[in-house]
Symmetry: C3
Subunit: 346 residues, 3 copies
């Protein structure tokens, strides 16, 4: 990246306060960026750094007025954070090692089809009857089982494992170690205490624009489909059981688990280490706070739940405030009992 | 699968109510199966679909009597669910891509032994002195370290990693990304605040008929063995620490963690996201509800525990019912205090 | 291992009580070790076994005096546990399969550099511009992306995935399936309900003497670095989000998750299944009990926290003791209400 401050300001439709002729060659955080770097200020907590930063330029909000002199050039924009994100994207394009071509040895079944501008890393495996779109990057050690379909512009990082019959849309990113299509956890208890495996014959469907973190697992359906809808973002180490359906643009943070056949609405937010039982339904725009355990359906869109068993978020916090003082409450009741005993004795 | 309804009924020892001559070519769920499909009805919640299903046949219980006319053929069996499972198995056998033979490049040490009808996928690795049984499927990117023994009829899906000296019985299934035999988490604190690694010299023993989900980890013992007994079923993303022993037919759901040297009895059920401290013992047939944290041994077989620290399941629910209303309880105590103060003032 | 008891006693500066001429060929646990084995006794709970053990020798504390006759030779040392650990290390060196050399096929970019005495397993991958130190063991199916730097004496077990630009120090051990450098979970919400990916341009820095368990994930920083400092030990299935910093010698147990930009001090201990929100700071020597959820910074070094939302450890236990009896407390308040009503009626 080699732009002048003026060029960057023009790109972001911002206004330059100070000199615009210096060259920006990198990006940084306001508290530790150096000369030649551009940073941003969005959170007021970081405002103090604007007076000490060594960055050559800082993106600030339209209405920001420094209370003291600043030694850096300011670029005033409507939204410094999203402006900075745009810069990051440009920087990423320039920096990223563009992978293309085929490294050997790699394995592809004779009846598999791949599109144009593909990257097939060394030791990658593509099974029989697979259909892979254009501009797909398949990193080393990726396994794609038989009869898998993958759309255009997808990236599968090293070690991703896709079981047979999985369907993936366009523009998806899957990080290392994630497993898609493993058998659902289904066993029929027998009279002698053993379990008999229930064959898992369905598959996984992942729609467009989905990103999945590292070492996450999505099980195939017993019958039918496990469905990850358009625009869903799953973090690392997430568990998605068989026949789960996740609505469009829902976000699931790390180490959360969703049990079998549960259906989530659109635009939900599940924080980290949340657990959902099976066979329930969650409305759109529901938020589950970290570590929440949900054992019942949530019908009201926009609800916020917390705790385990899950309660309304505010109610939980009120109950927990009393919980913190339970020994004191217990003592007060004991005191009352003594006083009432005295009163009755009189 | 191409059977007539009569043939299927005969196979399942069921009784046909309606026409038995139609051909069944697939399987489905009662709510969305179409012509040519067979479905089942076990859960009364789904009974309404029997009157609208497009399935050509539905397995129902012996004693099921429709309240309205049905447009599908019924096959009455003792247990529709297990009957259906049997059909799934037949279907699975016909559908599954039977893997056999050796794909290249693959790696096998000269002194390793493998049985008959083996599948060794491309990029699979079998180390020195390994003994692999008959009819074993080793998918691409599987790693089997030195001196590992694996019985007959096992399936190791792509990317399974088995460390040296592991012993696995017959008929085991291990899903992608699961690690067996990694070092236990053992470090001796030193006076200067650093930790010194304690060598982990034991191994992992997995007995017959065990199934393990994806991205699960089973650590090797410090000394001796980490033991997964016959018929145990482990879900995805489960953590089994060093020297743990899990009794026969115990089932462990996703994201549950069992700390070092803890011993579980037979036929226990651990729900999801449960945690157990180390060095405790759990009796047979114990159930731990989801997210339970267990820090003490459970001696009574058949106990159900819940919460953290874990309590008797029913007691926990009673306490939690009051917890939900703690602000109200607090208010009532405050009210009493005022009244008692008034009474004493009079 | 073939030493006499006298030789072992000399090595550990211990005093032999009994015959020192027998040969020790293996190690074991006091409760099940046999002839030719050495065991140790540190925990008084196991003292009963000293009178029945078949081990040829047992390490005991300096001041241990048996209450009954013992049939084994005792070696008295200052610290039996650390003495035993030292024996384990010796045993490990003799037993371990020393890996060295290059197995084929393996992949290394022409411009990557590796040191002396390297092991590169079959199907391992080393990307462009990598610098790998001396005496490094890279097991089969390891992926090392472009421009990664790895110090001396590191071990990367089968299936470890290291993304581009990662920096790792000396003497590190990473277990199978662990992912280092995957993208942080960063998405900017858009007005239409979709999310836009925020490019993750930083990297991961791992300092000397770090050990990481299996199937753990450490995300790269958005900008700057995710830092795992010297001597840190991470267990299996741990989640470390983008821009997290973990201080020297901090220990993190299995299935714990640390959210973005949170900073941990030195010598902290995080038990299993703990969760930390993002953007908080934890002082040195803080302990978080199992399953704790921490949503605020902890400024006091040495604090012990428990529960969720986290409380002082002892306070939590006191509150929980009352929680166990909440139905009884509720009944007592109800009783008081009746009595006070009666008193006021009189």
């Amino acid at each position: 990246m080699k732009f002048t401050i003026d060029q960057i300001a023009a790109m972001l439709q911002g206004k330059v306060i100070g000199s615009g002729t210096d060259t920006i060659s990198t990006i940084g955080k306001i508290e530790d960026a150096g000369k030649g770097a551009i940073a941003f200020l969005a959170n007021p907590k970081y405002e103090k750094y604007i007076y000490t930063t060594q960055a050559s330029a800082v993106l600030v909000r339209d209405d920001f007025e420094p209370e003291k002199p600043v030694g850096t050039t300011l670029i005033k924009v409507k939204d410094p954070y999203s402006g900075f994100t745009r810069l990051l994207e440009e920087y990423d394009k320039l920096m990223s090692y563009v992978k293309e071509g085929i490294e050997e040895p790699s394995f592809i079944a004779p009846d598999a089809e791949t599109g144009e501008r593909i990257y097939r890393g060394a030791f990658s495996y593509i099974g029989s009857k697979c259909k892979i779109g254009h501009n797909v990057k398949i990193y080393p050690h990726v396994y794609i089982g038989d009869n898998v379909s993958i759309g255009d512009n997808c990236i599968l990082y090293s070690g991703v494992k896709i079981y047979h019959n999985t369907v993936m849309g366009n523009n998806c990113i899957v990080h290392s170690g994630t497993v898609v299509g493993s058998d659902g956890f289904g066993f029929a208890p027998q009279d002698d205490g053993t379990y008999k495996k229930i064959p898992q014959l369905g598959n996984v469907i992942i729609r467009d624009d989905v990103e999945i973190g590292a070492n996450t697992v999505i099980d195939r359906a017993t019958m039918g489909h496990t469905i990850i809808d358009k625009g869903v973002k799953l973090d690392n180490l997430v568990q998605i059981a068989h026949n789960v359906e996740i609505g469009a643009n829902t976000v699931v943070a790390s180490q959360t688990g969703i049990s079998g056949s549960t259906k989530l609405g659109k635009n939900c937010v599940l924080a980290g280490q949340v657990g959902l039982v099976g066979h329930i339904e969650i409305a759109d725009r529901v938020t589950l706070a970290a570590k929440t355990g949900l054992s019942k359906s949530v019908k009201e869109p926009g609800t916020i739940k917390f705790g385990y068993p899950a309660m309304d978020h505010k109610e939980y916090l009120k109950s927990h405030a009393v919980f913190r003082n339970l020994p004191e409450l217990n003592r007060r009741v004991h005191e009352l009992e003594k006083k009432v005993l005295n009163l009755r004795a009189n």
